[in-house]
Amino acid sequence: MKSKVLNAIALLMVFGILAISCSGGVQKDQKPIDVQELTKNQPEVHGTEVKDGEITFASPLNAEWVKSGQNTYDLKCLACHKLTEEKLVGPGWAGVTKKRNPTWILNMITNVDMMLDTDPEAQKLLEQCLVRMPNQNISKEEARQVIEFMRKNDGEM
C-alpha cells in the first residue's frame, strides 16, 4: 500500500522535473546547413542516377570517344584498374563490358556513393577490394567515352 503511494509520488516528481527541465532546450531556430548543397559551384561533383536506356550503343566504335576515354583512363583510372583481368586496387577491366550492364558501369563511375550504399554487386566488390571506389570527378559524357574505351579493350570494333 505504502509503496503504491510512494510510486505515485515518485511519478509525480519525475513528471514535475521533466516539465521544468524541458522548458529551455536547444535553440531550434537554426536550419541545418547542407555543405554539399552549398558547394554546388565546385569542380568536385557527384552525378545523379543514370537509368537504363539513357545510353545507347552503336557499331563501329566511335574512335574519338575511344581516344578521349583512354585519356581519362590514363589520368584517373589506370592507378587502380589494369586492362587485364588482374586486380590491382580495383578489379581489372578485361571483360567488364560483357559482365556488367553499361548503366551499372556509368553509375559506378559518376555516382559511386549511391552504388556502394544500395547496389549488392558494388558492395560485394567493396568486400573484395576494401577500398571504396573514389569519386574521380568524371562527367557523364566523359564516363560514356570511358565505356567506349572499355568496349575496345574487350575486343569490339
Binding site: K2, S3, L6, N7, I9, A10, L11, M13, V14, I17, L18, S21, C22, G24, G25, V26, Q27, Q30, P32, I33, V35, L38, T39, N41, Q42, P43, E44, D74, L75, K76, L78, A79, C80, L88, V89, L130, V131, R132, P134, N135, Q136, N137, I138
Partner: protein
C-alpha cells in the same frame, strides 16, 4: 524502521533513475553557474556552427579558425611560420612564401585580422594578417584557407597597426610600432632618436578582382609608436584613424618615459587627399628593398620577387592630409562605430574612454581650431573634437567593438571585464567579468557597417585556475558571451592557440558555400606534375635526381627506386591523383631533414631530400587514406658516391622465380 529506510532509499533511487532515463532533452553537465545559458553554445553532433571565427595566433605566427558558438577549432592556417605538419615553408613550392629582404624568416608574430569588405559589409573573400616582427602583411584566400600572398613593408620596424581595412577593400594599412632611422642615415646613435628616428604609415592597395596587394604610398611621420588603427566608414569613408603612444619619443625605459604625458594622439589621415597628392606627383620615390611573394593556385607554386621602390608622401609637402587629435593616455584601440561618426579611443592608462565625433573633427579642421602643432603637424583642440567621455568605466581600456544597436563594448585589461555602454549618452549599461585580463574582444561584424551581433568573444591573457594545469605554461583562452539580451551572459570558455589578439567573425554561409573541395587535375600547371601514372618517372640531371611520383589510394608510382648515390640531391615531386574531397595524401621519407608533405587532391608538391648515408630508406603516406593505408609505402636505395648503378624505378614488378638447380 530499517525497512522503511530501505524503502525510502529505493524510492529515491527510483525517482532518480526514472528522471535520469527521461531527462534527455538537454545536454547535461553544462548547467554551471550560468543558469542554463551554456546551452546556447552547444552545437549538437552533426550540426554546424553559425559563424567562422578567424583568430590571430600571436607569437605562433599563424591564424586559427574556430566555430561559434561551439568554440571548436577547425584549422590552423600557416601564415608566417613554417608548419612541418603541412609542409608549409618546407616544400619547394611554398619556401618562397617566407622570403624577405632579410632572407627566409620562418616565424612571426601575427596580431590582427582583417576580413575583406564590400560596401562596408563582410564579403567572405579574403582574410589579412599582420606580421609584427619582420613587417609583412599576408592575404589568405577564404576559398582554400591558404596563405596566397605575403608582402613585406619597407621603412618599417614592427608592423603593429595593421592590417585594418577600408569599407570597399581599397586598402589595408601598416603602421610602424617601432620608429627607426630610415633613408640614407642608418648608422646613428640611439640617443639621437628625436632627430633621426621616423615612423611611417603604409597604404597597401588591393586589386578589386584578384585582391593582389601593392604598396600605393607611405606617409612619413614623427618617430612615435603607432599602435592600432581603424578605417572610417559611411560619412567618414576616405579617412583612417591611427592611435599612437610615446609622443614623448623616448628611446629607453618606455614604461616610465613614454607615460609622462597626459595625452598622446590619434592621427587622422585623409587618404582621399593623399591619393590626390600622389596623382599630383607630390610623392618622393625612395629606393628600398622588400619581398613580395605570391602563390599561384594553378601551378601550386609560390614565387618571390624583390621590389625596390616605394613612394613616400611627406606631410610638409601635403597640407590638410594628416591631423593629430589629443587622446588620453597611451591609447591602444581606436575604433570607428558602424555609422562612421564616432571614433572611440582606448587610453590604456586612462580612467575614462574618450569618444570623438567625425562631424566635429571636420568642423575643427575647417575652422583651423588647433591647440598647436606636433613636429609641424596640426593638433586639433581636444574639446572641439570630443563627443564626450565615458566616466569611470573601469581600468585599462583596450579595445571597443559595436553591436549595431548604438552600443559599444570595451575590454578592460586591468579590471578584467567587458563593459557595455551607450554611444549616444555615454552611459554604462552593463559589465561582466572576464577570466582573466582580457586583451582584445570580437563581435561578429563589429568592425563593419552592419555588425552581425549576437556574441562578444573575449580573448584573455591569463587563464590561471580556469583549466587543468599543463605545467608552467597554461593554455591561451577565449570566452564567449551572449549579447542578445539586456545583460551579457557568459556561455563558454574555450582554449586557443598561440596568443589570441584581434579576431573577426563572419556568418558561416558567406564562406562555406565557396569552400574549394579539390584541385582539378586537368588544371594542374605545376611543371613537375605527373598527370597519370604513365608519366611517373625518375630522372638524373648531374647530381640531381628528380622523382616524378603519383599517389592514389593506396600506392605510390614508382615505389622502388635505385641508382641514387651519396652526394645526390633528390627531389620528390608528388602529385595526388585523387579527385575526391577530403582525401589528401602525405609523403615522408626516413631521415628527411625538413618535413613531410601533405598533398591535396589534384595538387603537386615537392620535397627535397639529401641522403647522408648508404642504405635502403622507406617512404610512406602519413595521412590515413584507406583500409590499405599501412601498405602505402615504397623504398629508395642509396649507394656509395662512386657507384655505377644506373637509375631504375618500378612499381608492382614481380621478382622472377629463382631458377631451380637440377
Amino acid at each position: 524502521m530499517f525497512l522503511n529506510i530501505l524503502k525510502l532509499s529505493k524510492f529515491i533511487a527510483f525517482v532518480l533513475g526514472i528522471t535520469f532515463i527521461i531527462y534527455g532533452c538537454k545536454p547535461k553537465g553544462i548547467q554551471s553557474s550560468v543558469g542554463g545559458d551554456a546551452v546556447k553554445a552547444y552545437v549538437p553532433p552533426g550540426k554546424y556552427d553559425e559563424f567562422y571565427n578567424f583568430v590571430s595566433g600571436g607569437f605562433s605566427g599563424q591564424m586559427s579558425v574556430y566555430g561559434l558558438p561551439s568554440g571548436r577549432l577547425f584549422r590552423v592556417i600557416p601564415v608566417f611560420s613554417v608548419d612541418p605538419e603541412k609542409g608549409y615553408g618546407y616544400s619547394e613550392e611554398t619556401k618562397p612564401m617566407l622570403n624577405t629582404s632579410h632572407g627566409s624568416v620562418p616565424w612571426d608574430d601575427l596580431h590582427h585580422i582583417a576580413l575583406s569588405q564590400t560596401d562596408g559589409v563582410h564579403d567572405g573573400r579574403w582574410a589579412f594578417g599582420n606580421a609584427n616582427n619582420t613587417p609583412r602583411i599576408a592575404r589568405i584566400d577564404l576559398k582554400t584557407f591558404r596563405t596566397i600572398e605575403i608582402i613585406e613593408i619597407p621603412n618599417s620596424a614592427g608592423n603593429h597597426s595593421s592590417p585594418f581595412i577600408t569599407e570597399n577593400s581599397e586598402y589595408v594599412v601598416a603602421g610602424t610600432r617601432f620608429s627607426v632611422p630610415i633613408g640614407d642615415k642608418l648608422d646613428v646613435p640611439i640617443s639621437s632618436y628625436k632627430e633621426n628616428f621616423k615612423g611611417t604609415l603604409s597604404f597597401i592597395g588591393l586589386d578589386k578582382q584578384t585582391g593582389k596587394m601593392n604598396i600605393s604610398f607611405q606617409i612619413l611621420l614623427p618617430g612615435v609608436n603607432f599602435d592600432l588603427a581603424r578605417a572610417g566608414k559611411g560619412k567618414s569613408h576616405g579617412w583612417f584613424f591611427f592611435s599612437c603612444y610615446n609622443s614623448e619619443r623616448a628611446n629607453t625605459l618606455l614604461e616610465v618615459n613614454a607615460s609622462q604625458k597626459d595625452k598622446d594622439f590619434i592621427l587622422c589621415v585623409n587618404w582621399k587627399k593623399a591619393e590626390e597628392y600622389l596623382k599630383a606627383g607630390k610623392g618622393n620615390k625612395k629606393s628600398v628593398k622588400y619581398a613580395h611573394n605570391s602563390y599561384d593556385e594553378q601551378k601550386h607554386m609560390a614565387n618571390s620577387v624583390i621590389e625596390n621602390e616605394v613612394i613616400v608622401l611627406d606631410p610638409k609637402d601635403c597640407p590638410d592630409m594628416v591631423y593629430f587629435m589629443p587622446c588620453p593616455k597611451s591609447p591602444h584601440g581606436c575604433d570607428t562605430d558602424p555609422t562612421g561618426e564616432y571614433i572611440v579611443g582606448s587610453g590604456k592608462l586612462a580612467a575614462m574612454i574618450p569618444v570623438f565625433s567625425f562631424t566635429k573633427i571636420q568642423a575643427a579642421i575647417a575652422s583651423k581650431n588647433y591647440e598647436g602643432d606636433y613636429e609641424g603637424i596640426p593638433v586639433l583642440k581636444y574639446d572641439a573634437v570630443l563627443h564626450g567621455e565615458v566616466k569611470k568605466p573601469g581600468l585599462g581600456p583596450l579595445h571597443t567593438e559595436f553591436d549595431g544597436n548604438g552600443n559599444a563594448y570595451t575590454s578592460f585589461f586591468v579590471s578584467s571585464e567587458i563593459v557595455k555602454w551607450r554611444i549616444s549618452d555615454l552611459q554604462v549599461l552593463d559589465r561582466v567579468p572576464t577570466y582573466y585580463s582580457i586583451g582584445h574582444l570580437c563581435i561578429p561584424g563589429g568592425p563593419t557597417k552592419k555588425p552581425w551581433g549576437k556574441y562578444v568573444i573575449a580573448y584573455n591573457k591569463i587563464t590561471k585556475d580556469r583549466y587543468l594545469p599543463t605545467g608552467p605554461e597554461l593554455t591561451q583562452s577565449a570566452q564567449l558571451y551572449s549579447i542578445d539580451g539586456e545583460k551579457m551572459k557568459l556561455l563558454l570558455d574555450f582554449p586557443t592557440i598561440g596568443e589570441p589578439h584581434y579576431a573577426e567573425a563572419i556568418p558561416a554561409e558567406l564562406i562555406s558555400k565557396n569552400s574549394v573541395k579539390i584541385y582539378k587535375l586537368e588544371e594542374n600547371k605545376n611543371p613537375y606534375a605527373s598527370l597519370g601514372e604513365k608519366t611517373a618517372k625518375v630522372e638524373r640531371k648531374g647530381n640531381e635526381v628528380h622523382v616524378y611520383m603519383t599517389s592514389i589510394r593506396s600506392h605510390f608510382v614508382p615505389d622502388n627506386i635505385e641508382g641514387v648515390k651519396l652526394g645526390d640531391v633528390v627531389y620528390f615531386h608528388v602529385t595526388n591523383l585523387e579527385q575526391d574531397w577530403d582525401v589528401p595524401h602525405g609523403f615522408a621519407v626516413k631521415g628527411a631533414n625538413n618535413a613531410e608533405l601533405l598533398i591535396m587532391p589534384g595538387e603537386t608538391q615537392t620535397l627535397l631530400w639529401k641522403p647522408e648515408r648508404i642504405g635502403v630508406f622507406p617512404m610512406y603516406c602519413t595521412d590515413f587514406c584507406s583500409a590499405l593505408h599501412q601498405e602505402m609505402q615504397g623504398y629508395i636505395r642509396v649507394s656509395s658516391a662512386g657507384s655505377n648503378l644506373p637509375i631504375s624505378f618500378s612499381t608492382g614488378k614481380k621478382d622472377p622465380e629463382p631458377t631451380k638447380s637440377l
